[in-house]
Each structure stands twice: as structure tokens, then as C-alpha cells.
Symmetry: C2
Subunit: 401 residues, 2 copies
């Protein structure tokens, strides 16, 4: 698929010096849109959210139909827990960009990722912005590289689908490798499309797709202060505008948006700090979707389950433990646990045909599948995680020492 998929979007990256690296990697990404671009977003649930997150949220509530003119992302500094000074920094940078683009400050969106608690220098950012001239020949891989912190590879995903027989393109970039990497933070995602979709419909699209993608992954159960996912529609595609979430013409678009976001989410897990295994956990037979997800996350976040998988040890007692501690309804005598295709439990005890050898064989693979039927109802949920290895400790404990 070609790289400059959405010609109406101008992109620029630069090395500003905010992120300290040996080879002066780009650490600033500026994306500019024309006046008609609609925007929607979802953000961290953290109560100590960053100044940028708070400004983005404010922008989205300012208009009935939110519009974006620029998105600015820096890596190397999260501008989180930086008090009033941090908020002034966001305003100063946003003011500069809004003056340059001759638009309201509420059409400027920023995101910062990196060290928590250190002030971001607004003058350094503005000086860098002055030497940036966004171009239409985008390089999305380069854009994705500029927002990396401890990521070991860039995360880009593209889709092409149709609305009313008109070609619709979707491009997404993301970053993240631990929910918070060492001294750095955050999962960020930015998704762009040429579809002509109203911003309130975009908002519903991003919320529902997010639930099945970025909200279904966990590396270490920790939540960043700066998580941000923005979805922008340039409306350049020549189909009749879509302004209802339930519009049947969106069916294909929804599927593609979902699969793009899930691909990006899975890339984050694959880049999980120290990860050696990609783990899919499917919970079925739960009382509700919410309940299924809580059980799945209880398993996915258990350090004992994660270390057992790292050690390729079919220690299924730990899965029982994690179901139990979730506090969610489950019928002990009906719980069925599968590692790969190997059924382990039946009637509240070990299944007579269970072979630990076969379960261990599956755990030696790179991609691990766990399926758990909790025997209560009909609801399912799937979440994704990685194992907990020595390397995670190396990255997170030994980083500054």
C-alpha cells in the first residue's frame, strides 16, 4: 500500500532536542488539516491526566461539531504533573499554532509523551515549529517514528474500503510499549480518513472501536496519565455525508476501522516491554460483556499467570486463582479452561483426557491462546497481553541505574 495515502494532510517531523537520544531522532510531529476536518477522541481515565489531555478534552466540548486544524505531538517529555506551568505551556504552543493557521486555539490538539514531572520548554517547541513546513507527500512511517519513546519499532496500519462505492482510506499510527515505559509514558494513537463523516458520528465510532482494541490490551496493568487516541476525517471523499452512527453505509468502514485499531493495539502488545509471547485470552459463558472483560483482564494482569507463560509452564491453577479473584460470577463446577486446543478442566476438576505435555507444547509457541468458559451465561470478551519476563525487570528496574 502506498505511503502517502491521504494527500490532503500535511505532515512534518523534526529533531527538536526534547528527547535525549544519541542519534538525534525526530521527536516532534506536526500534522495540518484544512478547515473542514472533523475530529473525535478518547482519553486516559486517569484522574491525574496531563495538561495536553485536558486541553484536547476541552477542545472537543467547545464546539457542537469539533474541527481540527493541527495536531502536534512530542516525545521525550509527557508534560504531566507539571502544574499550572505545564498548562501554560500547552496554551502558549497552541496559541502560536492558532495564530500561524489563523484559527481558534480550540482547533489545535497536542499530545506529549515521555518523562513525567519535568517542565516542557514551550520556547524550544515554538522555535522548532518555526523551521517546520508540513508537506503533502507524507511518510507515515517517519511520522510514527517521531512519536516513539521506548518502542522498538514503528506502528503504522492502513485500510482501504468503500462508502457508497467511493474509495475510503484510513491510516493510523500509534506508539506504546509498556502502559508506562521507564520515566516515559503513554499509549498514543492517531487515525486519519478521507471519509465524509460528522464529528459526533466519528466520536461514536472511536468509542466503540476503542472498546475492542486499545481498551482490550494490557502490558502491566498500569494506566498512563496521557493516553490519547484521536480520529480525524478530512471529508474529502465524494460520497454523501454520513451523520448517523447506525447508517448502514458505514458497515464496511466500521469493520475496517475496528480492524485497523486492533492491529495497532496488537502491535503495542508485541512491542510490550520484555515480551516474549503474545497472549490472547478469550472468556466465554460470562454473565455480561463487562463481566467477561473483567475476568479476562484479571487473568491478563496476573503476574503469576504472566510469569508461568514466560516459563512455558502449564500452571493452570493460576488461571483458576485469577478467575476467583476477579470477583465475577462463575460456576466452579462448569469452568472449562483451554490452553491452545487442550482442554484442562471439566466438572470442577482436572479433565481426564488432559495432557500436560500437549499444553506445554502449545506454550512453547510465540502466540498463546487461552480460552476460559465460566459456565454462567452467554457473553464473551477477548483481551490481549504479553508475558512477564526478566527483560521487563531489566527495562523497568535497571533503566537509570
Amino acid at each position: 500500500m502506498r505511503n502517502n495515502l491521504l494527500k490532503e494532510i500535511k505532515v512534518s517531523t523534526i529533531y527538536s532536542g526534547i528527547k535525549k537520544t544519541q542519534d538525534n531522532e525526530d521527536d516532534l510531529l506536526l500534522i495540518e488539516f484544512d478547515e473542514k476536518s472533523a475530529i473525535a477522541g478518547v482519553f486516559t481515565q486517569s484522574l491525574t491526566s496531563s495538561a495536553s489531555v485536558n486541553q484536547c478534552k476541552k477542545n472537543l466540548t467547545k464546539y457542537k461539531e469539533p474541527v481540527v486544524r493541527a495536531i502536534l505531538v512530542n516525545s521525550g517529555n509527557a508534560n504531566a504533573f507539571t502544574g499550572k506551568l505545564g498548562e501554560e505551556t500547552v496554551l502558549k504552543i497552541s496559541n502560536y499554532l492558532s495564530a500561524k493557521l489563523n484559527c481558534s486555539i480550540n482547533q489545535i490538539y497536542t499530545a506529549s509523551t515521555g518523562v513525567i514531572g519535568e517542565q516542557l520548554d514551550p520556547d524550544l517547541v515554538i522555535r522548532s515549529l518555526q523551521s517546520m513546513s508540513p508537506q503533502k507527500n507524507q511518510d507515515w512511517v517517519k511520522a510514527a517514528a517521531a512519536i516513539k519513546t521506548t518502542d522498538t519499532f514503528t506502528k503504522v496500519s492502513k485500510r482501504i474500503c468503500k462508502i457508497d462505492d467511493v474509495e475510503i482510506k484510513i491510516v493510523g499510527i500509534a506508539k506504546g510499549s509498556g502502559m508506562i515505559a521507564p520515566n516515559m509514558s503513554t499509549m498514543l494513537g492517531f487515525i486519519f480518513t478521507n471519509a465524509n463523516i460528522s464529528s459526533d458520528t466519528l466520536q461514536k465510532l472511536i468509542v466503540s472501536s476503542n472498546e475492542m482494541s486499545f481498551n482490550s490490551i494490557t502490558v502491566d496493568s498500569d494506566t498512563s496519565t496521557s493516553d490519547t487516541v484521536l480520529l480525524v476525517a478530512t471529508k474529502k471523499a465524494k460520497h454523501k455525508p454520513v451523520s448517523k452512527f447506525n447508517d448502514i453505509r458505514l458497515t464496511e468502514f466500521k469493520k475496517n476501522l475496528c480492524s485497523l485499531m486492533l492491529e495497532l493495539a496488537k502491535l503495542i502488545i508485541k512491542d510490550g516491554e520484555g515480551a516474549s509471547k503474545f497472549i490472547t485470552i478469550k472468556v466465554t459463558g460470562a454473565k455480561s460483556k463487562k463481566s467477561a472483560k473483567i475476568i479476562a483482564f484479571s487473568i491478563a494482569n496476573s503476574p503469576l499467570v504472566k510469569t508461568a507463560i514466560a516459563g512455558e509452564d502449564a500452571n493452570w491453577g493460576r488461571i483458576i486463582m485469577a478467575i476467583g479473584k476477579s470477583g465475577q460470577p462463575a460456576d466452579r463446577n462448569k469452568i472449562k479452561i483451554y490452553i491452545g486446543n487442550e482442554q484442562i478442566t471439566k466438572d470442577g476438576m482436572v479433565y481426564e483426557n488432559y495432557s500436560e505435555l500437549r499444553a506445554t507444547e502449545h506454550l512453547k509457541q510465540r502466540n498463546i491462546f487461552l480460552e476460559i468458559d465460566v459456565g454462567i451465561g452467554k457473553s464473551n470478551a477477548t483481551v490481549y497481553t504479553c508475558d512477564l519476563t526478566h527483560k521487563y525487570i531489566d527495562i523497568n528496574a535497571d533503566y537509570r541505574s
Copy 2:
């Protein structure tokens, strides 16, 4: 303090072969009481609790004033997730003991700790019981040794206090080193006193003391299927019976029971799998006691906080993250964080006098103190945990490989 503190209690330990060890360590502990001993207990909240836990709970609800004649504890097999067969095992063993002691089956309490999902052989246990003859010259250290799984040391605590000028003795033993050790499980605690206290008052005493001790510790956030704490009063002390929780004569006893249980709880943390640091986390200024405890546990259970402390890295941004993800009320602009005596934040940002050098100095100690004022209300809570190290991964990932 002398070892056989409570002469009215008969104790015996033996090697039965349930626990596979090279040097045939004791793995079965039998404690016998006369007819008047009152009992109370608290258990795991897990919905997949073990057969023994379920039988203990049943015993306690069977009588208005629960009485105990014997407590039997085995290590090496948790008898958890063993279905109907596992329940029958508990009944068979309890029946044998109740016939021997000529009492109701509901006066027999059992606890099992070890591998999950494997059947415990009742005949092996009964054969071993036949060769045990509990004696009054107790050795509590030996008793504590018989219930160890991956524990690296025995956990015994004793107190002497007074009720009505009569000498009251309290002895406690405990086991536990991860919330679930490799393939093995459980935190167990057994506490004995000669005080003449009614069982309903005992129940209130154990619930309130438990909240500040065993319910205030975490190694890895995982919850066992078999956690059990039992409190037995032989009533041999010659003071007027106590039958009200609020009886002023209990003041000294309460203080001593609490401090004994907290000592045992701290020993479990000190024996935490792979632990190199003992961490005390005090949260103040919270909306309620419950809220303070949720925030404290959010910090204590964060893998990123735990690895930072293992690496002696004053990475306080991770504490901010953990406060934020707790979902509890906190005033971002009033949060004060201390590492040891070093104040780090003020007015929603880094404190001007903060010295990372001094904070790091504190983190080099074995005992780490974190204090966090969330600036909302007047409630406090303190929890205890350990750091997350390479050794934890070694113990939990590489155990069977």
C-alpha cells in the same frame, strides 16, 4: 519467651509424604483442644475457594457459639479445584478425626496449602494421623515449619498481656511468601490464646485485626483460593468471661492481638518471593479509609512502582500514575509525595527543594517508606509490600522448567 506457651493445647507434626521434599520435612500439623475452646475465622474472598475453606465456613455457621476440637493443616497439596472428590476428601478426614475425638464433624477444621488441582489422598492423611499423638509440650517453631511451602523461614509470634490482671498468652503461626507460590498457594494463619472470650466476640476481634494486618499486605496482587486465618480461645485463663467486643477489659488484648497479626503479616512480606526491599506505603488525606486503602494498594500493586524500587530509582512519576489509575478522589494540585523524609511534590508539580540524591539515598535502604497525601480529606491507610525483582521471575517462571 518460652516455646510451650499454652500448655492446654496438644500439638503434633509429622512427615506424611504429601509434600515432596528431599529431606522429608514435616508436612502435616495436628492441633487438639479440649471441649470448651471457642473459634473464629476469616477466609479468602475468592469465588473458587478450596474444599477446606468451604468446610471451615460451614462449621462456623453451624453453631451459635462455634467450638473447635482439632485443626489439621497439610502442606504440599491445596486440595483446591478438585471438585466433588476434593470435598469428599475433607469429609473423610474430618469424619476420622471426629470419631477419634468423639465430637461432631463440625468441630474439625482443616486447611490445605500446596499444588492446585491435584487430588489429596485421604487414606494417606488418615494413615499418618494414626501414628500421630499430639503432646502438650508444644514446639511452635516446629508447628510453623510443618505448614511451610515456598517459605524460606518459619513465622511465629507471641504476646503476653492482661485481662482483669490475669495473664493472657497469645501465640500465632503463619505461612505465605507469594500470594500464590509456584503451583502452591495460600496465606495461612493460626492464632491461639488462653483468654476466656466468647466466639462471637472472637469473630469481631479477628475481622477488625485482620483488616489492619493480613488484609493490608500484598506481594503480587494475586489472591489465593485457600487463605485462612483461625483464632482459637481455650478459655483457660481465670478471668471473668468476656462476651462483648466493646468491653473495656479487652483494650490491651486487642492491641496485642493486632500487633501479633501485623508482625506475622510483615514476616510474610519479608519472605515475599524474590523480595529485596520491605515497603511501607501510607496514604493520608483521603476521602475515606476505604479510599485511602484502594490508593495505597494501587501503588503497592503497580509493577512499575515495584520495579522502580527494586532498581533504587526515585521514579516518582509512577506513583502519580498509580494514584491516577486508582480512580479514587485526589486533588492533583495538593498531592504531596514523600520518599523517606524527602518531599517530592507540591502545588501539582515538583517541589523546589526536592533532591533526587536524598530520595535515592533512602531507596538504597532495606526498609522503604512512601507517604502520599492526596489532599482531599482526613482518612489514612497503611499497606505493606515488597519490590518486584528478577528473583520473583526466577521463582515463578523457571520453577518447573
